[in-house]
Assembly symmetry: C2
Homo-oligomer: 255 residues x 2
């Protein structure tokens, strides 16, 4: 099985390029990122993959995201290409090399991992509850990690998450964020918590609501959230058409 995957990659995909995906989800008031643990090791990495010779980079990223999360048609943004020469630096560590060779055979490292590869980074914003996380053929486990609890990762993947987060913060200042990250219906405090989490900053409740309502992308529903301690807050949802127009034209978020 491993030989089959290796053969496919060597014959059918670009050899000097890969895709890595920083998949952000929002759950219990926390921004999380989906990571994979490599088979029989403690080494974690971002989900990623190769580009078929006849496949565009964007299509490859969409396919990889679908394979790992079961989701299509979600927000996917190319944020940076990582072109340093030593991105594979961890694959000289004796213990890791030993474990990988025992599991995958020696060709795996030599022909696939321990080579210079330039990687195109994409970030995705996904609705946490909708994700069916599925490990890759070379990984044992998928797990969501809180953004502040991410362990040291293989390759330059910690730097990738840093840069993706920076790009997301840049984006949130110029475009609305929330569609895909939140469930269909949400409360204003939930939306505010999302903004606060991404920007790592607290906002005044009233000013936040006023600014977000001024974008004219939110629809206030008649329903209220039931079962919340103090009072029952109203539910909102995004007007998808207006949301998309705001994505295209830009909005200014500065608080």
């Amino acid at each position: 099985m491993i030989e089959h995957h290796l053969k496919t990659i060597l014959e059918k995909t670009l050899q000097e390029l890969s895709i890595d995906c920083v998949i952000f989800g929002f759950h219990a008031g926390e921004l999380k990122v989906l990571l994979l643990r490599w088979k029989a090791t403690d080494g974690w990495s971002l989900p990623g993959g190769r580009i078929y010779k006849d496949e565009s980079a964007d299509n490859a990223a969409t396919r990889i995201l679908l394979e790992r999360t079961g989701l299509s048609e979600i927000f996917l943004h190319q944020f940076h290409t990582f072109g340093d020469t030593n991105r594979n630096k961890y694959f000289t560590e004796a213990e890791l090399v030993q474990k990988l060779e025992a599991t995958f055979g020696s060709n795996f490292l030599a022909q696939l991992v321990d080579k210079r590869v330039v990687s195109i980074g994409y970030f995705a914003l996904v609705e946490f509850d909708q994700v069916q996380a599925t490990p890759d053929w070379y990984t044992d486990e998928c797990r969501w990690w809180g953004i502040s609890e991410v362990p040291p990762l293989l390759f330059d993947h910690n730097e990738m998450i840093e840069r993706a987060l920076k790009a997301l913060r840049q984006q949130i200042r110029n475009q609305p964020v929330g569609y895909n990250l939140l469930p269909e219906k949400f409360t204003m405090p939930e939306l505010q918590r999302l903004y606060e989490t991404i920007l790592d900053k607290q906002f005044d409740r009233r000013n936040f609501q006023k600014l977000l309502m001024s974008y004219d992308i939110l629809e206030k529903l008649e329903e209220k959230r039931i079962g919340v301690a103090n009072k029952s807050p109203f539910l909102y949802r995004f007007d998808k058409q207006k949301y998309e127009a705001a994505m295209a034209n830009g909005v200014s978020f500065s608080m």
Copy 2:
């Protein structure tokens, strides 16, 4: 000589990747972009090149920029990676193929140009007067083109310019722009004209000055511009340290 360049590229550089540079200059109140005309053809393209096997993508971009403009230590920003499968679509046009084969031999197209290559796009902001534009080994001529007069280009280079301009516009809303694009000393109307040109929009003179001064990056000099028709406007220059701090921390330009 051509054989030598071809051999070097095939043996010493990455084969599936290239770099392309959108070099913006500002001259006579107009935003311009540096283009190259391919030898013995009417085909224009952006300056670009390959990445050596032991060279990072950023270093390759810096080197290519230095080779084409004579400038180092200038603002260079990776803005997008172009990964479509048909980027080389123009190299099937009979007339172009004929001319290129006559000049470069048939290997040039088959081994170098008419293949799938993914390109990392960088944009640079340069001081127009400082540039010593130098053609590449496969080009006859370097020329500055006004951004609105760019001809149809080889590869997907028109799309690259569009995207670079979009990235520059995004940047100008979050970071100061002007250092590198303007001469050391400049007037407030010249700075305003730069912003207006990039954003393709007119601003009120007083509001513009007020906003730009609020960034605390400009130093008003005692000198005035002499020889201007009506009155002699004061000269300004950027305080480099404060400018760099504003680049790192961000500023909000919304008018």
